[in-house]
Symmetry: D2
Subunit: 422 residues, 4 copies
């Protein structure tokens, strides 16, 4: 099969397929920040599996542990029976992540995907409070099953539900319009506002799919205060922004808040394997056994690689390095915006979750397409795909980061020279 031989996919795979249309190659190998297609073409990966590959592809340490486990016939699938691999993960997660951050959470295994953890969080918040409504925020993205979709802002995705989405009120995220939290607070204060006190608020500290919108720490802090004022549970969906993407393990650490419930998935397994957990403040852990479940909630391969991945966090330099690279990225992006005013760009993001929102229709998609031609994978986000999004692995080599910058600058340059049309 050559790079352009996508016949089998065109013939057999549903029209719903999406990324294959932006990146029309058949990939077969991957390592670190590089992937290769069947024709041997090499691509620099500034996409990281939409945030599921923060440690790059096929990390050697995790790979060794995984191979050893499989070779040894370690139990693969265990539902929520106890397993040695799971005990290992729980122990390591507690020691490396929770304890040092003075976080006291119970760990729930809700099924191995982001939408599973979000659905479990919403259920629990409703059960604990006895309330039905949840407040979500504009441009939030939380998943594609009906519960998660109901708290997702994107109108195209929402329409896909085929039924009205209920029990949710959408409030403005930071910077959506002015005075956003005054507005939200007024709605809660006023008995005639039509908005009931909700079970929970759910939000991302940086919105990945929604356009790399970044909430200020004081905004997050005030959200937490509002939640406390009315006994509303605060759910942070850290599926995309967590596991180091913004510079700390949890994206909310520098804001100084302590959510009631935290959703983690994507890069949690470290190796790109399906895995998700829901962290729950212990007093809220009033689940009945089996009240929420899922066949693949005990994916031991993921326990093994996730445990290995957590070792990175034992070294304080790991976080520092992310911050160094984050600075490089933001400096580069600021330079681009200044150097190429034609793209009407605005730098967005925090840590290695960054990008440029271009006010020129279609521009960002073209930058990503050019970059692909030039050997780089990078995606766009935002309701109108107006943001091109830099998501390199956290441990990318600096020279490859710089190589990526070059490709991006070339792509931009080639586009601002030619007339921009749709």
């Amino acid at each position: 099969m050559s790079q352009t031989d996508l016949t089998i996919f065109d013939k057999l795979e549903s029209e719903v397929r999406s990324y294959v249309r932006s990146f029309p190659a058949v990939f077969n190998k991957a390592k670190g920040e590089k992937i290769w297609d069947e024709d041997g073409n090499e691509y620099l990966d500034f996409f990281s599996g939409a945030g599921a590959l923060n440690y790059g592809h096929n990390d050697d340490k995790m790979k060794a542990k995984l191979i050893e486990y499989i070779m040894d016939d370690g139990i693969t699938h265990s539902l929520d029976k106890a397993s040695t691999a799971k005990a290992g993960f729980l122990t390591k997660f507690n020691e490396v992540i929770l304890k040092p951050r003075q976080l006291d959470y119970k760990v729930m295994f809700p099924g191995p995907t982001g939408t599973n953890t979000v659905e479990s969080a919403l259920k629990l918040a409703r059960k604990v409070t006895g309330r039905t409504d949840v407040i979500s925020f504009t441009n939030g993205f939380h998943g594609m099953t009906i519960g998660s979709l109901s708290v997702t802002g994107n109108s195209f995705k929402r329409k896909g539900a085929g039924v009205p989405l209920q029990n949710v009120v959408t409030m403005p995220y930071d910077n959506f319009v002015n005075d956003d939290l005054d507005y939200l607070e007024r709605f809660l204060e006023e008995a005639g506002s039509g908005v009931a006190i909700p079970a929970a608020m759910i939000l991302e500290t940086v919105q990945g799919e929604g356009g790399i919108n970044t909430a200020r720490f004081e905004w997050l802090k005030r959200v937490e205060d509002i939640c406390k004022r009315w006994d509303i549970l605060l759910i942070i969906d850290d599926v995309q922004a967590g596991v180091g993407r913004t510079g700390t393990f949890f994206s909310f650490e520098p804001a100084g808040i302590k959510p009631d419930i935290v959703c983690l998935s994507k890069s949690l397994s470290g190796y790109g394997l399906p895995f998700a957990i829901t962290l729950i403040r212990p007093e809220l852990d009033i689940w009945e056994p089996g009240e929420h479940n899922g066949t693949f909630r005990g994916n031991n391969h993921a326990f093994i690689t996730a445990t290995a991945a957590l070792e990175y966090w034992e070294d304080p330099d790991f976080e520092k390095n992310i911050q160094v690279k984050s600075e490089m990225v933001h400096n580069f992006l600021e330079k681009m915006v200044k150097t190429y005013p034609e793209m009407k760009g605005e730098v967005r993001g925090r840590g290695l979750m960054a990008g440029i929102a271009s006010d020129v229709d279609g521009f960002s998609n073209k930058v990503a397409a050019k970059a692909f031609e030039n050997g780089m994978i990078m995606e766009t986000s935002g309701p109108k795909d107006e943001v091109f999004k830099l998501f390199p692995p956290l441990n990318i080599k600096e020279k490859n980061l710089e190589k990526g910058f070059e490709i991006i600058e070339e792509s931009i340059k080639s586009l601002v020279k030619e007339p921009v049309t749709n």
Copy 2:
């Protein structure tokens, strides 16, 4: 950690954990129909990961392919980009499964779990028909996210939603009461029935969680006829009953029906890895790109093992062997019911999806508990856990199947001798 050292789970894992309470051991190794705990105790597995391990644990052929793929740095996580492993799966699935059965389906990768495929099926049915309601059946089980949960019958699970579940009408499954389909048809015929023509009907041909209830082929055929009469889409949820569990790859084959949409997951990867697909009649494949998605819809490890697993189906003896073992199981169960009338048992099921429903309160749970003491893992199902459920791997050795029968008979015998109380 010894068998009884579950401290770490008690301390760190959420109260929602469930199977660990029935099977209080820490498992670490598994092979074929056997698993072992940390103390080296061996258990015969008549549970098969709730249907996710139809080929037993850690099958050698799949293991070899998976190790090779990982060693070779094959791409692990690819979202819905094209990959060599995915092309391999699509090709093999088409050749070994679809073509020989004259089934013409497009394959959708909706995310790697059963509830993902069900949610995608419901969305598509609503989109295609422009209708909102779906008809589900009593004791159906389809998943735990809000869309799938709304078509699930179990009241404990439904209550867990915390919000009213909408856009669904539950109709009686075969044998729920008499004349079930007359009833259903009357509701559709009568303009004053309060039941609108739905987008779809969704059902399992044998209900796993609902109590191993088995629909007769003529009942299934008539459901298909009713769907055709009113242009209703027929969705078969073959997540648990599919992939050979009832004796054929798809559970609906012997009924002679052709569903519009089929949901597959659990044993599809063969190795217990998270994987699911949705099969769609080509004319219905009107998805927009990305209208439904999910981060782990491109789990290449699962593509590799699933492709290897499909090789079993190239050998016609594979199906025959399932049927031989099925007969052994049903003969054994019939014998049990006759020999131990005290348990007021009724044989349920089809193929290797079988069990006994006991009309004595709590009896089935006790059989399962005794069996665990005697070195076997077996679960119960049904709204009151009234069924103990034999789910051995399809390729279990005959002598181990017989060993399992012995353990079960011993467990029953020990219980009917002692007075049954709760």
Copy 3:
């Protein structure tokens, strides 16, 4: 304006107008069982305002009281302030209706229409039980606002909502299919049935709009037993069947049941004025002041005429006379069915709520149209208008009843002679 001058209505009134299309005349006067149009044509009224004129038009006793009240500047509109007229109604209703029947109800004034009382009943049942679902029955009709419409069976009316109707499960009414209540009970018993224990069941003892379907007393009794078994509230919607229409004040009296909540409207004012009440078992009266309200819940003109109307019920002969006429009607209808087998008729109903369901498409509408040509007003009902419906005033003169029979027989006769086509 002549009989056929409907210009003003065609020009200014919405297309939603309905009866004017069946009875294209401009009516101006009415008395007892007679109404007249502007051209002086006289019509015999076998329609009784769809059950709102059980005492005929403009009853002289009520008229005198009403005129006196108006002349005297009695307060007309009082919301739920206390008024002399309202005290009079409450006292009389208690003495003449409740006490003699040993019924102990609180009286709620929910707004002056049938749908107001139904909405208030549903709200209260949900408040009392803390449950959301309500069970309604096939072909039930309860009103056109969203709450009442959700428990109404008719698909054309339901579709008019423009949103999915929620929190309702429709169960089969008596004779919808066999074994109806076995079916309902099984759904409630089975924890996996997908049907939660509801707040209430709501039903009519005879379904007016639904096709004059009549529930047997033993069926009603068993519904009451089922409600008691699960602490479900029983709401009888007696808006159309109540106030004597079936032969007793409440339609449920001969069945020997005592509903928890009763909805009354239509003929309650006696004079055709808007009026409704909700009767509530005292222990259930946990409303907060003003929790449900409505501007016209204090219609004193209606209090005056309703009080006068209740005087009829002080005379035991009043009920007996209804029963005499009921027998005349049923004998006549049985004769029609036998004499004119071509219409494939079936007698339906109880008391003076009776009709013939014809299995010949369009036949019943033609009978009603012919009858109108011959000077009689009579409507059809049922999901396909398959029933022509005899609703004479309860106090119609016997000779006029017989005159009505003649008109109907003539209409039938003329239709069976000619070939029946659509």
Copy 4:
């Protein structure tokens, strides 16, 4: 029965009764702006039946017409058959109201109460647009049946529904927070806002129950512009603010907007009789016959009095007089606020829909209670009853208006002298 003899109501009427608790007297007579209780006590009516008695009680002209009609056995109850009285109303309404204002509406008779007209408007908007959501505004009040309640802001009333209220998004009314319509428009513009383009927006130009909140004309104009920009239907609920209450027949006239649908009720009949209409832009009148209906949609007594009431509008001085009195009221209220700063008052309203919002907890209720002691009926509104509300009849005699002012000032004065506590 003496004034304090409310025994019959305590014993027989539901706890839901409300105004009788604020005005504990048994009323029996009423004329113009005066009502009397059974003990002969006279009260000045600054309440006007919550806006249902804009012409005062028992207007002599209407009374004469009504008596004549009843005496003459005019048809009382006609559903939506044509009647002479209805033709008279339609003709007069067209000539006196619609034509002079160059408004071209079809008239729908949806049932005789405010909630009926609102429910019909919502249904039609959803039918016309094929969309499900409706935008309502904070502190809006539209009725108590489930459809109308879903667009009502008050949390106490909403909770009474007993089910989650769906398919509605509440947006900030004028002055709820700053930049309200920027906010609303941003939600509609942004594809990721979680708010779909709705079928309609529904609002009152002055919010009666919500606290006499008044929308500026430029705000209303901009709402209309926004509706046009996205093809959203604009529904003005003029149930309380219409029929002259704000100084013009329709409250929206001076704002220069033309709603797509208008809801009228309350004072429409003139005499306090139940009556409502829905006005529909002709192109939107796509109802099927009978798609919405209601037993009391043909209340001929109301047609007669409503027709007589419209004669007032033939005299241009009628509107001018309202404006003169409005000025008197507003001058008086401004004076009160200045003279009694202790009540922390703010003048609210437009026309004869006016009041003072006091920022002192419980103050407004005390003013109303004092006024009652002093022989005046006046109610409070707003989510915390923070507004006392002047709703005199439009045709109140000037000396009685001034007498009312005196009573109010006395009440205020007596309260600011004493310490204010709850």
